[in-house]
Symmetry: D2
Subunit: 352 residues, 4 copies
């Protein structure tokens, strides 16, 4: 099956590159008779939109979504929902200077090797705009999860440039431009990013995601473990370089007696597993973290080679985000929602 | 598609639980006319076999593989290869004491919630024996990768209980019982494990995997990114709790100018990406690390509840490995091989 | 995987219903660096377009296709190609009279039972407009098959209302409005259809499809037999009620010695198998036939029930084709092309 | 996904060839907590077994099935069920005379072209023994369909060598060796077959399948139409050359007013659609027919070529069935059951 399709029972197919006509997604397997509107979807898209603040690119991309099918009189009909965001006519000659070179940190070289042809404008399919379809589809999944199962998915930034959140207060997440759930640390992080911007550089970060309300028993025991599918979903986001659940990499330094989660009459008392054991949800919160790499496009001149292998200097013009992590937060939530809903549907199928 | 099937063009379907009749795998999409023998496969299986050393369980499981189809006169015919390892008649009443309780760290509770019925003997499908099929199938993938593409996949333990390898010397890996590629550190680790065994406890570890020889251009750009599929493959291994590629979680503390890999006339000069950018291989080594949790079954009595929610003490008898990581090494290699070969096949399909 | 996705390596995802915003398709797995233009695709779409002749509906649907992604400077880039045809703003109140009843021969009742909600306008997703995405995607597949492999796919009508073609002359197919490859019989058929139109009735027909140039060895031996996948592809076209390959239903009355195709030094001398044995192409022409049911919407008043189970009369206004088969010809060709190309790609993957 | 896997939520993976070690199937997605025994499965296998009567081959293949996983204390646990039938040690040198030639009507030539290597013994993977896994898996599906949904699937032969059943009396099916549901016609058919055997020849036939009790609303509206998936399932059976639903090929000669099924207060009054409209079940009986080709292996000497293209005479020794259709009856039922159960599970997933 094509690599642009994801999910088994709740399925998304995305398309679109930075400077083509549009980006979007077909969402299939949608529960029928659910209220859905363009506004519901737009609300999520606005979280990943550029131009939100001084640390996001000032390119004016409105990213207004249209529903082209699958919704009738405000309700899902059960057939595929097509969501599209048209690209504005962008000046693609703005990219002429990078046409024949490989930008450091970008997929330019890998794409040319893969396809033998490359749409270099704005990174083509490797552009962050590819995530629009994911967030749009995820908005539908989130709404179904909340309405039918009271499941909440919340992601937030916990580490930027080594500065770590000291507490988690959900009410703070949307109050600061870095989506850190700790007001004081958020301010410190913004100051650090401002400094990096002056140096024409960027920084990485870590996103944590917490999912509450998932019933126990979701996930398949072998290859389609719930954590395996979440891992794939997260690593499929361009800038994500890893994932860990619960105690994560910390298990390397733990003993079994420390790491084993134990139960008493009140249920589970610890959650080192991150809510999933043997690939199956335990009913506890599902908790994972993903590292997000620094923006590759920086204003600093960088050495590289061109398509003939000759050494050149790469200069990237225009405004670019000095950090990806805050805008990746809604993408993480969207992909998590798609995986959880897909697995709930599969569990229903198993028992039929 | 069922959660027991993995891969798109090189596909494995596994079956079997700890105390059923057998465990095994159907491997499909196998390149025809490749020499393969039970010995080729057995060699890999022996690496994950229990009873290899004083730190692996002394249960006598021979795990002799049989080829039931798909090979004719020592060569693959292109049709499904069935590989089976019969379980010995085990005394399943050895598990009677845990029949009605939930062992800490095990999937007992999650399975019962999922299925409403549970084969408690030796963890059933959640048993480590489930990986036999993976290693057997991976042996075929590794052989094809080596013979047709000169691709090598090497995994080894780099951290146990906080003790970290200081160098990587492949020739040492099979010389010590913890598969650490650093002779001196290996000895230190064995001493630490011996101490933990006396305390009736276990420990976690970290495995690193290095893949050389993968041509650039492998991997799909959206959901089936090469790193996304490797992540899924790794997280589908029971005890694995995370993954990171290249600089991994370290990117959180790096700037863009530090993290961006750069090229000169000699090609790539750094590999923070771990050999994959935008989901596509760059031709560099593919490098990732996975944390492996401590063995859940420990001899120490542990508090838990039974299926009626009443508090009881869990006592696990018999011998269990004090660490999973060294025996997970061949499983990591096998799953990596399956993903790489699958994606090479998909790249050929794309260009047809 | 969702039921709106078809194909494994050359994959199409369709969306859209009669009166939503648009219909279309995402095509993935497209060979990179192939020349493609909207004109190439439009040419095929025009064959299924309404309003072609007096026997096709006079609704004015221009069905102009747009390429929204995956093509750069006139060439495929290897990433998903999005093809869309916007629906005109149709007066959907034209369907108010059928909103609450089940039209005979239509999927109204089945859809309502399936989804519990129904977009009744113009049959919604069950509309023939759903085939636009198939034909558009098939145009790409046909072009690749012709340019890279010199494979030709030709479908034509061989039987309408019991009047059967007596010869097959490809040059006649587009010379008559019923796409019959026999000039004289075509005239007879048009006269018969004209008569049925006067009676406010419709008729069924049979399409034959002939595929030349497929190399031997294409198709998978078990479930994804080439004929099995072609059968699924054809039966997935709304009005198609069956399929037969080569001698087809005639084999029931043949002996083995009659039916067995035999070879001499010149290769195969007969083709009762229709070009596929054991699910795999033999290198001969692939030949199959499909029956296409009569148009369900007829002007004649028909008895039926409404959603309350009460008996009512169904009257269908507007113009409807008196026969589906001629407009289904390009759909048959498109689906056949998609299956053949998909299997050629899979064969390349197998041998990698 | 590999061509040896079928179904999305109820999934079967088959393996095995005529003269390998075994044939069998992994069944996944099985509803947990269903009683199942080897006897339940054996009963269905016995219907396809050779040696049942004078018109089936006298080769002594016991085909005793073993359950190797997924069943615990007589109940399904929800994890994969492995069913295996070991092949007897057959004298494979019995096939030496056909090793280098292409038997008429067999897939020998196609397989060699596909794979470049061929296991010629007993047709290898193209052997009818491949259907054992299907029938075994189908036995589980049939049991679940009957117990949970009261769905019955009944197939029977309706035409052999042009001699057609005149009535359908289910109670007669197992009373005669050709599985014709018409006692008198069955006798006539047996006489005809006996005559063909004397001529060292074989004959084709037509099987009809009738499925009662399927709720309305099953099937997906686009590519995974219920009839499309049944068509694929049936054409994936080696000897089947076509399929038609309800009025089938007859629609070519019907008018819309004749063909449209109509409803009154008592529900549907006709069933030309064969129980499926728009790809979705209507709640009526699902009815289809498939033509089954004559046995290719006949005792008559036949001209052919060898692998060097030289003309030779093919002589097939040993006993072969003079007709395939009666033994294909349980295979048709099995594949139908798998499709129906798979789609019921998918419908549950859609509404979650």
């Amino acid at each position: 099956m094509s690599g642009s399709v994801f999910g088994k029972e709740f399925t998304i197919s995305t398309f679109g590159e930075s400077h083509g006509g549009a980006v979007g997604v077909i969402v299939d397997g949608v529960t029928p008779n659910i209220e859905i509107s363009a506004e519901n979807i737009q609300k999520e898209l606005n979280k990943r939109r550029p131009g939100q603040s001084k640390i996001t690119t000032q390119r004016d991309e409105r990213d207004m979504v249209k529903i082209l099918s699958g919704v009738y009189e405000g309700r899902t009909t059960g057939v595929p929902i097509m969501l599209v965001v048209f690209n504005k006519d962008a000046k693609s000659n703005a990219y002429d200077n990078i046409k024949d070179l490989f930008r450091p940190g970008h997929a330019d070289y890998a794409y040319l090797q893969k396809y033998g042809i490359r749409d270099h404008r704005g990174s083509g399919r490797a552009s962050g705009r590819e995530t629009i379809g994911r967030v749009a589809a995820g908005a539908i999944a989130k709404k179904i999860l909340k309405e039918k199962y009271n499941i909440d998915i919340t992601a937030y930034v916990v580490n930027v440039a080594g500065i770590k959140a000291q507490k988690i207060d959900y009410s703070e997440i949307e109050n600061n431009i870095v989506r850190v759930a700790d007001k004081d640390v958020a301010e410190e992080i913004v100051a650090k990013i401002t400094e990096l911007m002056k140096q024409h550089d960027s920084t990485g970060g870590i996103i944590e995601c917490n999912i509450t309300g998932v019933m126990p028993g979701i996930g398949e025991p072998t290859f389609d473990k719930l954590d395996a599918d979440l891992a794939k979903a997260m690593l499929s986001i361009g800038a994500v370089k890893g994932i860990e659940f619960g105690a994560g990499f910390g298990v390397a330094e733990m003993s079994g007696s420390e790491n084993n989660d134990w139960m008493d009459e009140g249920g589970f008392q610890t959650n080192n597993a991150g809510g999933i054991i043997g690939g199956i949800s335990t009913g506890q919160d599902i908790v994972f973290r993903v590292p997000v790499k620094p923006t590759s496009s920086i204003a600093k001149p960088q050495p590289t080679v061109d398509i003939n292998g000759e050494e050149v200097v790469c200069e990237t013009f225009g405004r670019h985000d000095p950090i990806i992590a805050p805008r990746a937060v809604p993408v993480v939530e969207a992909m998590a929602a798609i995986v959880i809903l897909d697995h709930i549907k599969r569990q229903k199928a198993l028992h039929a």
